[in-house]
Point group: C2
Chain length 443, copies 2
């Protein structure tokens, strides 16, 4: 790829509470990294504008950072928008394990992943942290599909060996088998042809504590340290899951994961609705983060993540679609749901209760914060240098059409109102070009 | 319009809990009404298929009934997706009354309504029950715009005269002035050139009790009976509004509206989150109905409408976008939010409370019920013969592309799973042709 300069109106978060809207010129190096950023009216802007490889964005568009999906089960895409009628502990055995077991057929996997990855790109997801399945071949198909379409993919071979929770036809036969498979998978992804720049990364992925033996969890923690690999898992997802771990481990998910060596740099805990203050402190100390999945939580969590507390405590946090616990592949749709869920946590929902006792006051987040979660929040949690269109960050970006679909952005809109309207109204219809690491992946 | 026959796969609700999926042929008369319906495999189907004016839907499409938006403030479209940070009583004076006051300029109204009505058609809204503003000219512009684009529009000139709540520059000067204006507006809409078939109807529209004097409310009730016009208003929308009326009238909104003669055949009460059992019984006895606005409620209601109880009590109910209290012009997006809100009412939201005390058990609705609310529920509440693609009903219908956007419908899907996937995934991208009263209004 050659270096190029892109000019246009750009919107990005500076902090969760502050969004910046400026006419900018960005110099993107041949490595896909933003090397310089200049605002309109400066000499540096003039200099960049005279580049021979100029991409001038039309006036009716707005450049925003690409979106990060911090929690998505790629193999569950065929049941997205169905199977939302059972509690988590029944949903797994009834619908999800049987579906995931089908990925022993790598050809089936290819069909699904060839549909899913482009769908995510159309929705603006430039970085995705995937759960795959226990199958090495099929999970490599997912890694290859990310590479093929240019998506920044973090792919986890799922590890699960606990016979009490996992069916015989969908689990690794032993902790050692799961550990060996994970080690092979890490090596295979790292050496995938075409992946020399590391666009796709392996992730150590214990499904969640209930599905894993202690031996497996300990082994994966050691492997993460040995091979310096990120970790993802579910934590305190529902009342059932939270109490299951409390009973088995005598401590919360978060603290148990830490004991196993799994709470590390950029470990992502999905859901995390029942974390207490100590848990949040521990997550922060370990430089780990949370994947907030507000659509899924309405069906499976039994409560809302107090994302207000998470932001106020400066714990890393982004958004996850949690396909298919959540039905939508859109991080924007999850961003608006994050706002709605925070309002319903703040106000409560039961009209039979007096307003003063109904909710948890001062627990709302606003739309700028949701925009942050969708862009920089997720990238930061995962340790990806992107999400703000700043020098040193990868050029992962979306070109939004300002007046397509339901979006109505005008030159009078402030940065805050742009962020709010985008969270409320952005959809694949409004997303035009998509770049990942400087490469145009959708036009 | 000439009569025609349409053949294809069609999905519609029989009851809130039962959805039917069949290959059908529908004979649509030159008045836009479905005259015959035959299922594939019958002689009647063969006969219809030999029609000379056959519209054969492609195999990768699905016909569904058009959507009814039971509560939408057309003039608030310019602030959709903004201004969601204040409680209702502040929101009105800070953002909304000043915006609505601008519709004294009919040219401004034309610009907005020319954008809004086609946007709603792209979203599948074939019937809309609109609040306009207090301005007769601008409100007639809305009626004319519905006519122009062929949308079934119910348009209300807003009546509001209470000096305590309404600003001096945005209220009618007296009850009599508001009554005279309403009477003129009803006449003007009924005699609009091109409206001979009554596609667009006037609606008596007291904003809500706090904004109206008793004299105005009494007068509007009498006018509704005299001129046989539908009524719409807000009722028990938030804690503030609910208690304001309890204090002023010594009774609930619902029962006060009944006293004023405003709870009539097909009166639509928007929001209605704090109705009690007696209120619901009264609504049912009067053959009135509720407009459930789940997105708006997250911002302004302070609680969730117990729509489970509403359905179980067989009270008429449909969905409203409540633009711009709700940000989305899509009834499908509101339908999925209705499911989510019902789950968050059922489970509660506060993770600090024990699960057994957190929510209101058995209060979920499912996706088939949401599909009903979006289609037949709203039409039934409003007394429009549509929403099920049955003989005697108007041919108001959407052609959905089964595998566009995020929608993935296959021939293996049951009626229930089609309904669920459509509620979860339908968007303007997936909506192809739209017919209203037999007329193709979007292709």
């Amino acid at each position: 790829m050659s270096a190029f300069v892109v000019t246009g109106r750009a919107l990005a978060s500076r902090t969760p509470q502050e969004t910046v809207l400026e006419n900018v010129a960005l110099l993107v190096g041949d490595d896909g990294i933003i090397q310089r950023r200049a605002t309109c009216g400066t000499q540096a802007y003039q200099d960049l504008q005279s580049s021979e490889t100029l991409v001038r964005l039309p006036a009716d568009t707005l450049l925003v950072p690409g979106l990060t999906d911090l929690h998505i089960h790629a193999p569950q895409w065929p049941q997205a928008g169905t199977a939302l009628d059972r509690p988590l502990e029944e949903w797994l055995g009834t619908y999800t394990f049987p579906l995931e077991a089908r990925y022993s057929d790598a050809a089936f996997a290819a069909t699904v992943y060839e549909d899913l990855v482009p769908t995510l790109l159309r929705n603006g997801t430039t970085t995705a942290l995937y759960f795959a399945t226990i199958h090495e071949d099929a999970s490599l198909v997912l890694a290859r599909t990310c590479l093929k379409y240019g998506q920044r993919g973090f792919v986890g071979l799922v590890a699960m060996d606990h016979p009490d929770l996992c069916p015989p036809d969908y689990r690794q036969a032993s902790a050692q088998e799961a550990l060996d498979a994970t080690r092979r998978f890490i090596h295979a992804v790292r050496t995938l042809p075409g992946n020399e720049a590391g666009l796709v990364q392996p992730v150590i992925t214990p499904r969640f504590i209930p599905a894993c033996s202690d031996a497996l969890l300990n082994g994966l923690g050691a492997l993460a340290a040995e091979m310096n690999v990120r970790v993802q898992t579910h934590a305190s997802e529902s009342d059932w899951e939270h109490h299951h771990v409390l009973e088995r481990a005598g401590q919360t998910d978060t603290s148990a994961l830490d004991t196993f060596g799994l709470l590390r740099d950029h470990t992502i805990l999905a859901h995390a609705g029942f974390l207490n203050q100590n848990d949040r402190t521990l997550v922060k100390e370990r430089n780990a983060g949370l994947a907030h999945c507000p659509i899924s939580n309405a069906f499976f969590a039994g409560a809302a993540l107090p994302v207000r507390d998470v932001l106020d405590d400066h714990v890393h946090c982004g958004l996850g679609t949690d396909l298919s616990g959540g039905y939508s592949p859109s991080i924007f749709e999850n961003a608006r749901q994050a706002v709605l869920a925070s309002r319903m946590l703040e106000s409560g929902t039961n009209p039979e209760i007096l307003p003063a006792k109904r909710g948890l006051p001062n627990h709302r987040i606003d739309f700028q914060e949701a925009f942050w979660l969708a862009t920089r929040g997720g990238a930061e949690a995962l340790g990806v240098p992107s999400g703000q269109l700043l020098p040193g960050q990868a050029f992962d970006a979306l070109e939004l059409r300002c007046t397509l679909g339901s979006l109505r952005l005008s030159s009078q809109d402030s940065a805050a109102s742009c962020a709010q309207k985008i969270v409320c109204h952005a959809s694949p219809e409004t997303i035009d070009r998509v770049w990942i690491n400087g490469r145009l992946v959708k036009e």
